[in-house]
């Protein structure tokens, strides 16, 4: 049976796994894009995901949990042959991040016994979001911890949704948004 804190740790690991994929993906995306503005944006996003990844690793280390490592490589769903493929991969990476953050919104709720179905598992480039050997299962998160995690998850979900909208605007200008980011 999963201990209460394990659900939170698993959710954090899942977010970290999507950040690893984004840190790997954006440099590839950046060299494939043609527009200087989009290349600059890809670099900014890579830096942002790198920063988030480092913060998440520190957050997991503070919980005495081994952060899930990056995979050797990540592949896009389709071969990257031009700017449109690169934009599509960037969109996939951001949607995976949104899915992971949406799960992080639910995990603390489930840890304290909230009911109802959690979100469906998103397809991430790396699905190895396993709990490390020094997992700190046991007690449910405190109210302050829950509030902090929920704020972190909502901020991450909103940021990923906004970035996904940027890429979707290039791919399908008439439908740049999705009703339920992260689902």
């Amino acid at each position: 049976m999963t201990a209460p804190q394990d659900a939170v740790v698993q959710a954090l690991q899942r977010v970290l796994a999507t950040q690893h994929a984004a840190v790997f993906g954006y440099p590839v995306i950046g060299v494939t894009l043609r527009s200087p503005g989009q290349v600059r944006r890809a670099r900014q996003l890579e830096a942002g995901h790198r920063r988030t990844r480092d913060e998440l690793m520190a957050q997991l280390a503070a919980r005495r949990v081994s952060p899930v490592p990056a995979e050797a490589s990540y592949a896009a769903a389709q071969p990257i042959t031009g700017p449109a493929d690169a934009q599509r991969w960037a969109l996939d990476l951001e949607e995976d991040c949104a899915g992971a953050y949406r799960y992080l919104l639910v995990a603390p709720v489930l840890a304290v016994g909230g009911t109802s179905a959690g979100p469906s598992s998103g397809t991430t480039a790396s699905s190895g979001a396993s709990v490390g050997p020094a997992s700190s299962g046991g007690t449910a998160p405190t109210a302050a911890e829950q509030a902090s995690l929920r704020r972190q998850a909502l901020t991450g979900l909103t940021t990923a949704a906004l970035t996904a909208t940027e890429w979707r605007s290039l791919l399908s200008p008439n439908a740049p948004t999705t009703p339920f980011p992260g689902l």
Binding site: L105, T115, L154, L157, T158, T177
Partner: protein
């Protein structure tokens, strides 16, 4: 003077004492009426979110009436309509909501209006200036639609953050409100 038999006298005396005893008992014992208690109203945070959604949807309809060829506006409207469907589906978990909607079918009440002003139920905290009605001035222009989306996103984010983790449907409501808030933030960005 009519003669009264001993049996009649006895039965009348018995009836009289029974009536007097009953009246005495009725005066001393409290009367318990069985009254059907209505279920608690649905959480204000959800009905307020639905009211905001309706306000936005009306805004989209007004703006689309003026600019039917606007690219992308129909897609954004479809997102908002989907939010309404999802919120109504979650509200079905609450008997108070079901009662109010069934009353509406019979024409006596409006859904969501069953919430007494100021009533606080789990997850009912509303940001300052947000009412359960959730409607301000009608939205007729794109900048107003952007502003309304921004305001709705902020209110929905707050509702998501404030929803109690121990509430029965928190596992469903929290991610739903989070996704709606993220979507509306994207809308406000797209609308400029």
């Amino acid at each position: 003077m009519a003669d009264i038999s001993r049996r009649t006298l006895l039965s009348r005396a018995l009836l009289g004492s029974a009536l007097a005893g009953g009246a005495l008992l009725g005066l001393t014992r409290p009367i318990k009426h069985k009254v059907a208690v209505p279920p608690p109203p649905p959480p204000v945070a959800l009905t307020a979110a639905l009211a905001r959604q309706r306000h936005l949807l009306d805004g989209y309809d007004l703006v689309l009436a003026n600019q039917p060829a606007h690219p992308g506006l129909a897609g954004l409207r479809a997102d908002v309509a989907a939010h309404g469907n999802a919120l109504r589906a979650v509200l079905q978990h609450y008997p108070g909501w079901r009662l109010s909607t069934s009353s509406t079918v019979s024409g006596s009440r409006t859904p969501g209006s069953s919430v007494p002003p100021g009533s606080r139920t789990p997850g009912s905290s509303l940001p300052p200036g947000t009412t359960a009605a959730g409607t301000g001035s009608p939205v007729t222009t794109l900048p107003a639609l952007a502003a309304a989306s921004r305001s709705a996103a902020a209110a929905t984010s707050q509702a998501c953050l404030d929803w109690p983790a121990t509430e029965a449907h928190a596992g469903e409501v929290v991610p739903l409100l989070g996704s709606i808030a993220a979507c509306l933030t994207s809308h406000s960005r797209v609308l400029g």
